[in-house]
Symmetry: C2
Subunit: 341 residues, 2 copies
């Protein structure tokens, strides 16, 4: 925990981070390590959720929960450390193609979730029960309680459910369009957390597949706008480093959709919602000014297509270790205090 | 496989056995080892079936399938050899009491079954798919495709679902009544198998909890009666040895229900359906005549309350090993040929 290394107490009591899977989960974990228990809330993409063998599976919620619970697989980032594949082996023995990796301990999460959802309990409450049982102090909130499937239109297979694109075909199909469902209300809990937030951070997640599904939920953009109008900062971390995705399909996907594959390309996607942007050192293509106590958030870089100024923090954004997570989170939070000043 | 040790080829082409869990499964396995592939059909109790964590679980079907597939746990008799408890451990971590032992490989069976049932596929077809995948040549047929829960009325807890009585409370409550559901039709496949049978064998299963739920299904008693009228024999094995159950609650239950706890007590329960009865050597309380080729099924013992004669085979009926299963099955089949002569 890096709290004690901070030069001064952080002024944030309610930090909300919007995240998807592994990268976002790691960063959320870094934040949780820097902030007092309970002062971080993660709003998590559920556009990847799907049903397999009758189980309702929420990959991003689970990744965030396992990561914040200290249970995540240290190499994969998703799944549980030390988990086994006995059930998968038996499924294969039954002739099932078993393309989605359902590991044994992980199945317990899906069974309880599915059972409770079937009983009419909301995904928000299900997630609270599970993460409470794992003694995770940071609320983990699904973006929506309604099913909100992200669909991927591909050149090779037409429209695919997300996990078929992502896991079954290892995100190799060429994407022509990401289809987000219309009219999905964000949960009351998520909007309340945003409305109370004194700092909003979009994690280093895939902008199109993880973050935009959250921003797309009814009420999210409006609530963020209202907070910003009240002086609260919304900042984002780039998941692109030197033109490559840190992990997963972000770069390939942006290229296929004719978007600039760069940190500034990501900033462009977030143009309407962010005040500050954190990139890998050397990755920002424009001059970056230093933000001092006197500059009151005015020192900035300029993105190519951005019509306004944006505060930029250049630092080492790739997290290899637990120490990296806390160090990055501490840097980001400290920098954000200067944006607020 | 004991086939070659038989003195003469068995005259049976379609043997049907009615069974419940471990004891019946072992005996069915012995039969399968003595008979040509595909000439044994097991009709299995589904009164124990239940739903847990949203999974439809058929304990007796699984025990028979795993046993005939050579996959059963060698000590427990139920469950899969070498299975692990990762999922159960995680369920407990979530605070679940996890009283029913759902082991990891076993969960694959329940997931596929539940998924297929949800798709409207019958339990008969689900069981066929699973056992085909495990290359089991003997058809395994659920007694019913409809849900047919056996309920247990107890002194301590009132009416309990079967598995709560059996697993959760380890069959320790005092049973006042076994409640079988009314109006459950046997499956067409089960009745067809009985109607084609040239020998019907009630396995050494619990008469009240495993066998009577099968006999209670609409059409079963009638079809057995019709076959017997056509000269086909129906025989049963005692699950009681020297006044004790070989395994499980049979003796305790019979005592609680004021039934004589003995092999002949079991024979009394089957009075209306059997021609022959197999007991542990020394366990039959009446004189037992030898059945010869000339005696045409007429040599008999007499049960206390039976109004008619019954052919008795005394032998070693406890199966400790695979060899025991095949030896017992071979003895029973050989004896049955003499009943038919």
């Amino acid at each position: 925990v890096a709290v004690n290394t901070l030069e001064r107490p952080l002024p944030f009591k309610s930090v909300v981070t919007l995240v998807g899977g592994v990268g976002g989960a790691k960063f959320a974990d870094g934040l949780a390590r820097c902030l007092p228990p309970g002062s971080l809330t993660a709003i998590v993409n559920t556009g990847d959720d799907f049903t397999r063998y009758g189980l309702t599976i929420s990959p991003d919620l689970d990744t965030v929960m396992y990561t914040l619970g200290g249970l995540a697989h240290p190499v994969n980032g998703w799944g549980l450390e030390g988990d086994t594949a006995q059930m998968l082996g038996m499924l294969k023995r039954y002739g099932d193609d078993a393309w989605f990796g359902l590991f044994d301990r992980d199945v317990a999460t899906h069974l309880l979730r599915t059972q409770w959802l079937t009983q009419g309990i909301s995904l928000t409450e299900v997630t609270r029960r599970l993460s409470d049982a794992l003694a995770i102090p940071s609320p983990i909130l699904p973006m929506a309680d309604r099913v909100a499937p992200t669909l991927i239109d591909t050149l090779e297979y037409g429209v695919l459910p997300f996990q078929e694109y992502f896991v079954r075909y290892h995100w190799q199909p060429t994407v022509t369009r990401v289809i987000l469902p219309d009219g999905i209300p964000a949960t009351r809990a998520a909007l309340d957390a945003l409305a109370r937030a004194d700092l909003i951070i979009i994690g280093p997640s895939n902008p199109l597949l993880s973050v935009e599904p959250i921003l797309n939920c009814i009420g999210v953009r409006e609530t963020i706008a209202a907070r910003r109008a009240a002086g609260v900062r919304c900042i984002a971390l780039s998941p692109i480093v030197a033109g490559q995705a840190i992990k997963g399909p972000a770069a390939k996907l942006m290229q296929e959709l004719d978007l600039p594959v760069s940190a500034s390309g990501v900033a462009d996607r977030y143009e309407a919602v962010i005040d500050g942007f954190i990139v890998q050192t050397g990755d920002w293509p424009y001059p970056v000014a230093e933000i001092g106590a006197v500059s009151a958030g005015g020192a900035v870089g300029t993105s190519g297509t951005l019509s306004r100024t944006l505060s930029i923090l250049e630092t080492e954004i790739v997290m290899h270790s637990l120490t990296d997570r806390a160090r990055l989170a501490e840097e980001v939070l400290t920098w954000a205090t200067r944006l607020v000043d």
